[in-house]
Symmetry: C2
Subunit: 338 residues, 2 copies
């Protein structure tokens, strides 16, 4: 967790997750093109130079979090990669706005969705190619959805999507298609494997069901919920009773922005507000810190919870769903105090 003490996650520490193998290991920019087609007036084939010169550059600092982040903590256990809390990162992404690219291609009347395909191709025909879609209304005028070619001031690393990836701030990483090659506008909803049945959550406000049961109806996963983490001192670090330490961590949500973070050292009976770090925008990690003095020898447990601008916070009990998505229970860290 040490990387999360800073609001920006270095490129070399950023998590990597691919769905299908083999994954692309090199891309030749001389031949790479971003194809924009489907239900448009003017299909495009854009080189990287054209992406950079034909459209104004746009920057957004945003958290990229795997839908299954923290899945390993669900009870009962669920299928899928047993992530701890590391499948997330925050970076400054620079690229061109999707809405500008779509405008250049001329979206036709009747279009309803946009699909995104990358260079990663399944090794076996039985594995579905990863193609994701977004509702056209979701992206048409959103200046924050970008085709990124730069991450923290450098070209995208190969494993983070070189030469270009889709960035959908506030939404889970499943939409952030890497090694992007094809943008296709469609005049009907897209329901292939990676939208349906994969990556769906129960169709209710919590995205949850009673543990062990199946939801009656589902919708594609979308906006991230509120989360907060205590990163420093490291869990298990030995502290001294009566000696002040500085608690540090990060918090984020799906784009309303973090308004408040609080800590408790008495199991949640009382909470106090901590100091927030610099505001890097509503989609970014928000750093926080607080002075805290372990009151006595023994085991201390520090809990942290965050609130976003619309009053959403974190629950005291983990909510469950079959895919292990959306975990946002209040997390706590234990310290031995000597």
């Amino acid at each position: 967790m040490k990387w999360f003490e800073r609001a920006i996650t270095p490129n070399e520490a950023f998590f990597v997750r691919y769905h299908v193998f083999p994954i692309p290991t090199q891309v030749d920019l001389a031949t790479w093109r971003l194809r924009v087609g489907g239900h448009v007036d003017r299909p495009l084939e854009l080189s990287m130079d054209e992406l950079k010169t034909r459209f104004p550059a746009a920057a957004v600092t945003a958290v990229n979090q795997c839908s299954g982040n923290s899945r390993g903590r669900f009870s009962p256990r669920v299928l899928g990669g047993q992530w701890g809390d590391g499948a997330m990162g925050n970076a400054e992404w620079v690229g061109c706005r999707l809405k500008d690219v779509l405008a250049a291609a001329g979206v036709r009347q009747g279009a309803v969705e946009v699909t995104f395909d990358g260079l990663d191709k399944p090794a076996f025909p039985s594995v579905p190619d990863l193609v994701k879609s977004l509702a056209l209304a979701r992206v048409l005028d959103d200046p924050n959805v970008i085709v990124a070619y730069q991450m923290n001031g450098a070209p995208l690393p190969m494993l983070n999507g070189f030469p270009a990836r889709l960035v959908v701030p506030g939404w889970y990483a499943t939409y952030w298609v890497k090694n992007l090659s094809d943008i296709t506008v469609a005049d009907k909803p897209f329901e292939r494997f990676w939208m349906k049945p994969a990556y769906r959550i129960p169709d209710n406000p919590c995205g949850c069901v009673e543990p062990g049961t199946a939801p009656k109806a589902t919708v594609p996963i979308h906006r991230m919920n509120v989360r907060s983490f205590l990163v420093s001192p490291e869990p298990g670090a030995r502290l001294a009773a009566g000696r002040p330490v500085t608690l540090k961590g990060i918090a984020f949500d799906g784009g309303y922005g973090i308004r408040e973070v609080e800590v408790s050292d008495d199991g949640g009976s009382t909470w106090r507000r901590v100091s927030l770090g610099r505001d890097l925008g509503p989609y970014a990690f928000r750093e926080w810190s607080a002075a805290w003095t372990p009151p006595r020898a023994g085991a201390a447990r520090v809990m942290v919870r965050a609130f976003n601008r619309i009053g959403e916070s974190q629950g005291t009990e983990p909510l469950w769903n079959p895919a292990g998505y959306l975990r946002n229970v209040i997390e706590s860290v234990e310290y031995p105090v000597g």
Copy 2:
């Protein structure tokens, strides 16, 4: 606010709101029938005796809150009745389940909505009759949606919907059609005046827009958000520094249930958990209380906020929408301390 010190609001103190006049002032049970028709196999005309004997009785304790409750506090001001916080109440409703009534009528394939009409008729033809609709999927299997004929152990008072009203726990009062006379199953979405353009909220997670602006897209108002109130001591009551008092109030949400209520007397820097009263179900007022001692002479301000089971809470700034709906900012009460 004194009625809200108790979890159940007496019938004579329950708020009354009609949209159109004249309102019905008497109903003859000998001739009153609940008609169930439209896209069904067996249209029904049910007398009150049949409602009570043909279907099992179901009880639900639920808050009925006007969508515009607290609208008078919005800034900038919005159109509509300038309610303070009194347009809400909590009662035990008894009636038959809508799903049982619909099953008796036999909903046909292709049905998508159910509309509800009451006896209140506009005095002038230019005023639209109040007809509300609910998606069939929303109500088909929900045992909590009932056609109520009893409120807190007595027949429904005339002004609260005698002889029967729809009860939609967790949702705003606009769906709780009074003096119910007609239930009509429809095979296409219903978009008459009281569903569209009236009673709609911005189509985003907060139901809010920048103050003074108009939303791009709207959806019908639905689930109530989290609210909490400090009811006793009454606002403005003179308290003595150093002498303990008992703070009391209520909290509720749209049906996940209140898990925690907290108070702060230092402007929100620290919060402490209060005691919750008996759990009357996830749709009811939840009473809370806490001992508190005003620390010093001067003005004291006590803030209260609640959390529901999925971690939703209340914001520190009021969110705005053109109709003045959904207010759920953290409320506070001032006391002079001598």
